[in-house]
């Protein structure tokens, strides 16, 4: 028989004012297993807690029930109290007789009767409570940041500055990401690279950061505190330890291909750094286009390299390392406007995307900052900007707002009027969304500089001779409008990286219908994922502008450093557990788990003198969060939830129905 002690809190008059504690005490005394009952004015006060400790010792209590306020308030307090008296903290139950009883009922009789039931529930349950131990998980204090855009850079720097080792993995030859492709940034019109490059250099020089560019994450195993990650470091064909970044190789390389960085508007060499400020400033050979790799002849770069750094024989390298935490900061892709047949299906050279415009207006871009239209190099006299291309358009399968295209279009209009004075500019918009600091003012400024804003979605853009005709509707005037433009800039939206779903599956995190990564809670846990130890930063989680991406990156870094501040993680022991003797190994519990905490394992046992092996389910304590949804899928009850076990809940039901 268990020896249960029950402590009835008055909470001043909060409880005692409505519930007749004396009568409650009388009823509780007769409950099975209860060997000791006492009343306290305030159980949570130090004297009250001392009474519990005293009760445990004097009456050799092995279970404790406190009838007081909500367990959401003081469960942890009382767990520590019983623990300090030498009892396992999980041998405690709380009857919520304040929030659920004395505060919501007026009739003393009724409230007292209900309080008796609530205590009986707790007493019935606590009989089945088992001593539980918090699992301790060692933490590998090394973080992996995937993606070297502004979000990844910020997260890596913050974690490294806190004194922890960080590996930053970037799949392109240089870090910098999308921000490096931008010209100016709204709403301040800072030069994008001017504010970004110092951070890029910080990354390269930081003693705690190991930078792996031209590399990708191939495999992720393990769990929080103990991820085991395999990274593929693609062959650069350049020995990074020898290369000085002098540039002779790419100056001399005789072959050019369209530059990805300039979105095909300019060209790059086959051995190249994507842009002049690249970090690391060390080239790669694009083996797909390299003449030597195709024909076995050329080797011009090798001849001209003063450091002897060219290495055609280099191979991909697979590196496996342990990490305690992972930050995914893989950014976004631009919506491909070829999907808009009504806007020329990507075929007309003078209908360009917003990012193309960034490259056109950028001083180090293919036109050296002169705005010329791609078809014939003519300086445009009128430009139409169309927002929400690939955003908020159900017909193209994208319902969400890209969050940046209103603002970057306003910026483009301002830059255009500065660079090409007298050039007419029109912005077709659905709604102007300017919720950031200084954003509305910035939009107003672009209006004042003469940009004409037309509210309405454009129906069609077509070519008529030398110019383009933009056909739309001004919904404010209720009139159809036709605008002749020399160039049209489509403010294309943000989509997840093409391979985002694949990476999410590798990481074991969930993603939405578009393949943006899912945060653990849309409001309260915006940088965590449902997989403990994996965090999100930047546009991989959803469209974001630079300040939001940086803020989220610092948030993710704070989560990582908080985790690294301890040597071990304690896992809540209130998790699912498998009774292997019963488990049939059907694994129908597995698809239920949102944390992928359930896996199968093979156990061997002796049956009728033979050793046989069979499959059972197993729960990873590092991943399980204790929701218990799996337990209901388990027909034989082999899967149970500690702290809310089948035995406990059934006992509670029966106690309350009695």
């Amino acid at each position: 028989m268990k020896r249960i002690g029950v402590f009835l809190c008055h909470c001043g008059s909060n409880i005692a004012g409505t519930v007749d504690i004396d009568r409650l005490q009388e009823a509780v005394r007769r409950m099975p297993g209860v060997v000791y009952v006492e009343q306290n004015k305030y159980t949570c006060s130090e004297p009250g807690q001392e009474q519990i400790r005293k009760g445990i010792k004097e009456h050799r209590l092995d279970r404790v029930v406190v009838a007081a306020c909500s367990p959401r308030m003081h469960e942890n307090t009382f767990r520590r109290t019983v623990e300090s008296a030498g009892l396992n903290p999980y041998l405690l139950e709380i009857a919520n007789v304040r929030e659920h009883c004395s505060w919501v009922h007026k009739d003393r009789e009724e409230a007292t009767a209900k309080a008796v039931d609530l205590v009986r529930r707790a007493v019935a349950k606590v009989v089945f409570n088992r001593p539980l131990q918090k699992a301790r998980i060692p933490v590998e204090k090394r973080a992996l940041v995937i993606g070297g855009g502004i979000a990844g850079i910020q997260a890596a720097l913050d974690i490294a500055d806190a004194g922890h080792e960080v590996w930053l993995v970037e799949k392109e030859p240089s870090i910098g990401g999308r921000m490096a492709q931008l010209d100016k940034t709204f709403p301040t019109l800072d030069c994008s690279l001017c504010i970004l490059t110092p951070k890029m250099v910080d990354v390269a020089q930081h003693p705690n950061i190991r930078l792996l560019t031209y590399s990708q994450v191939e495999n992720v195993g393990g769990y929080v505190g103990n991820f085991e990650v395999t990274i593929r470091k693609r062959a650069r064909s350049v020995d990074e330890s020898k290369c000085t970044g002098c540039g002779s190789c790419w100056a001399k390389c005789p072959h050019k291909v369209p530059s990805e960085f300039d979105l095909g508007l300019g060209q790059r060499k086959v051995i190249y750094v994507p842009f002049p400020q690249a970090v690391p400033n060390k080239p790669v050979i694009d083996r797909e286009h390299c003449v030597y790799f195709k024909t076995g002849k050329c080797r011009v770069c090798e001849r001209f390299c003063p450091a002897g750094a060219i290495d055609f024989t280099q191979e991909d390298e697979l590196i496996t390392e342990r990490f305690g935490a992972i930050v995914a900061a893989t950014g976004f892709d631009l919506f491909d406007h070829a999907r808009y047949g009504e806007y020329g299906a990507g075929q007309d050279p003078d209908i360009i995307s917003g990012l193309h415009f960034e490259r056109l207006v950028n001083a180090s871009g293919p036109t050296e900052g002169k705005i010329k239209r791609p078809s014939d190099g003519k300086v445009p006299r009128s430009v139409a900007f169309i927002t929400c291309v690939g955003s908020r358009d159900d017909h193209k399968g994208i319902s969400y707002c890209s969050r940046v295209c209103c603002m970057y279009t306003a910026k483009h209009a301002i830059l255009l009027s500065e660079k090409v004075p007298g050039c007419r500019s029109y912005v077709f918009y659905m709604d102007m969304r300017t919720p950031g600091k200084g954003y509305e003012e910035f939009y107003k400024r672009s209006q004042e500089m003469g940009t004409q804003y037309v509210r309405g979605r454009v129906a069609r853009i077509y070519r008529e001779g030398d110019h383009l005709v933009v056909q739309g509707e001004d919904t404010l005037l209720g009139r159809k409008v036709l605008v002749e433009a020399d160039m049209v800039v489509l403010a294309t939206g943000i989509t997840p990286r093409r391979d985002a779903g694949e990476l999410a599956r590798t990481l074991g995190i969930s993603y939405d219908q578009y393949a943006f990564f899912n945060e653990a809670h849309p409001k309260l846990r915006p940088v965590e994922t449902n997989t403990a130890g994996i965090y999100l930063a930047g546009a991989c989680q959803g469209p974001k502008d630079i300040p939001d991406a940086v803020a989220q990156a610092s948030g993710a870094a704070a989560k990582v450093t908080a985790m690294f501040s301890k040597d071990t993680l304690t896992a809540d022991p209130l998790i699912a557990t498998v009774n292997e003797a019963i488990c049939s190994g059907c694994l129908w519990c597995k698809p239920i788990c949102p944390y992928r905490a359930i896996d199968e394992k093979i156990i061997t046992e002796r049956v009728r003198g033979r050793t046989v092996s069979r499959r059972v389910a197993t729960v990873n304590a590092g991943l399980c969060q204790g929701c218990g949804a799996c337990t209901v899928a388990c027909r034989d009850g082999a899967m149970n939830l500690l702290g809310f076990s089948n035995e406990q809940v059934l006992a509670e039901v029966e106690a309350l129905c009695r």
Binding site: I582, S584, P591, V612, D636, G637, S645
Partner: protein, 337 residues
């Protein structure tokens, strides 16, 4: 006439006697060639209307296998215990039995590679219990001496005379719903394919009948049904969707099902049994066939099938689904009102 009748005691005529000998030959060959260590089929039963499962271990014993219209029982569940031994087992399956095997495979209780499925086209099988009841109603204590199916008519020679039963009367209920009497994707097929007959649609008429009662009558109806339950667990034991190592009804802690036999606990038993196979029932009707007190268990299983079909748009809920309907969700599932 006895000589012409196809009886469960093995004397068969016509096409299906050919199937019987082909089956015996194939089974002997599989055993002799070591492809299977055992062959599970049917052997003659104690009465002409019934057959018994036959576990054939040696090629010589394959001659005792029979195949006829009395082969109603599904052999699928026997595979479960055979999994404990090494080696592969051959098993004779009708189209309906194949669903049961798929169920066990989907539940990872039977390994597909360790089973050799021998399919056979089925002309529809006899509901022995029903026929026996009809005979007994006419002549109490009636004894069947010989029985066989000829041109779609069941002819029964009893002590007191000859009785004939038309097809609709003798067929097992699941045969009326049979859409294709030939099992597909089996490892071996014996005998010819059987032409399908017009299948009764899964219209859940029997469920609608109960649902149409008022709430109080409905409870009274189930009270009457459940009051007869002996808790013999035959329904569970035969069910291909009930394959847990240790059934929750046998577990002591927690006591999901107290051992007390009261109608209240029968509700717990029948609710739990049916709910545990919800979304997984293959509609074989074996539970109802083996129930010694005639509880209409399929009215429970089908009610759940119907709910799942209606709520979640599962089109053929009796087929083993790729994802268990209750182990998945969609964000736009119907909400409560």
């Amino acid at each position: 006439m006895g000589g012409e009748l196809k009886t469960a005691s093995g004397g068969m005529t016509g096409v299906r006697s050919g199937v019987g000998s082909e089956l015996a030959e194939r089974a002997a060959g599989l055993l002799a060639g070591g492809e299977v260590r055992m062959f599970l089929g049917y052997g003659a039963g104690r009465t002409p209307l019934r057959v018994r499962p036959r576990h054939v271990l040696r090629p010589e014993a394959a001659g005792g296998l029979v195949w006829n219209e009395f082969c109603a029982p599904s052999l699928a569940k026997y595979l479960l215990e055979e999994q404990e031994e090494e080696g592969r087992v051959g098993v004779l399956v009708k189209a309906c039995d194949l669903r049961a095997v798929k169920r066990l495979v989907a539940d990872r209780r039977v390994e597909r590679e360790r089973v050799l499925l021998v399919g056979v086209g089925c002309p529809g099988v006899v509901d022995a219990g029903k026929v026996e009841a009809l005979l007994a109603r006419a002549v109490p204590g009636e004894m069947v001496e010989e029985a066989g199916v000829r041109d779609g008519v069941l002819v029964v020679q009893t002590r007191s005379g000859v009785r004939e039963f038309p097809r609709e009367e003798y067929l097992l209920e699941r045969c009326l719903h049979c859409e294709d009497p030939n099992p597909r994707d089996v490892d071996l097929f014996v005998g010819p394919e059987v032409a399908p007959w017009p299948a009764r649609p899964h219209d859940y008429a029997e469920v609608a009948e109960v649902a149409a009662l008022g709430a109080a009558e409905r409870a009274a109806y189930w009270d009457r049904q459940f009051a007869r339950c002996l808790r013999c667990f035959a329904c569970r034991n035969v069910c291909p969707a009930c394959s847990c190592r240790e059934c929750c009804f046998d577990v002591w802690e927690p006591m999901w099902l107290p051992r007390e036999v009261s109608v209240s606990e029968q509700y717990m038993f029948h609710f739990t049994r049916a709910f545990h196979v919800a979304g997984r029932c293959v509609d074989c009707g074996e539970c109802e066939r083996v129930c010694p007190v005639g509880i209409p268990l399929m009215k429970l299983n089908r009610a759940l099938q119907k709910e799942i079909a209606e709520l979640f748009g599962v089109e053929r809920p009796w087929e083993p689904q790729e994802k268990e309907p209750l182990a998945m969700y969609t964000p736009d599932d119907p909400d409560f009102h």
